[in-house]
Amino acid sequence: MAIEVRIPTILRTYTGGEKAVSAEGDTLATLIEDLESSYPGIAGRLLEDSDGGGDLRRFVNVYINDEDVRFIGGLQAGLSDGDQVVVLPAVAGGC
């Protein structure tokens, strides 16, 4: 079960410069576990708590087939073969 994951510039240091990688999982949580096994350290950039207990970081946006996962179950959002996942850091700040 292959899922394409688009990696933003700032996280390509973990993927050897690759813009898109293939990973497996039937939920976003298991997909991130699989990513972590291939690209150690990447989970800590996506999750509040890199041991898998934490939620998605507030300022990381993840989309499954163009839907923001926050509206479709967060880390429990389901995945199936051929889905596309996009990771984008929020563009945000404040004085």
Partner: protein, 146 residues
């Protein structure tokens, strides 16, 4: 150094003044690897706040898909400060997610929505380190060599 054409500079300043007292935000996209800020994209500040800005998550995805389709990247990421100086805040630094971008800060604290000069400054923000750079405004960008 950030080299920007006058029309883009003026448009960023106008956007900041128009949205004052809320923070304005946007990007200037350009061909990947070119360092040429060519295409201004004003974004909606989903936070609608005088002290915070954030691109709406749906708009963000659309923006990055558009840039991907055009083989572009965000050459400039800009936002305004409406009550403080044009210098990256701790939050700005912590959330800076584009290591290749010029981060432009415009401060509207002096004139608000009114005519007149603003503070317009540019920075690189990489791994929490801020480096200010010179801003050069030219009548038009030189013709692309590619």
């Amino acid at each position: 150094m950030l080299t920007l054409d006058q029309a883009t500079y003026d448009a960023i300043v106008a956007h900041a003044k128009r949205d004052h007292p809320d923070e304005a935000c946007g990007v200037v996209a350009g061909p990947a690897g070119s360092d040429r800020p060519e295409r201004l994209v004003e974004m909606v500040n989903a936070a609608g706040s005088p002290t915070f800005y954030e691109f709406d998550s749906t708009d963000l995805l659309r923006l990055y898909r558009d840039m991907d389709d055009r083989d572009e990247e965000p050459v400039v990421v800009y936002h305004s400060h409406t009550a403080t100086e044009a210098y990256p805040s701790r939050t700005d630094i912590g959330l800076a997610g584009e290591p290749n971008a010029h981060y432009v800060l415009v401060s509207t604290r002096e004139r608000g929505n009114n005519e007149g000069p603003v503070e317009f400054r540019s920075y690189r923000i990489i791994d929490g380190t801020v480096t200010e750079e010179e801003v050069v405004v030219v009548p038009e960008l030189e013709a692309s060599t590619t």
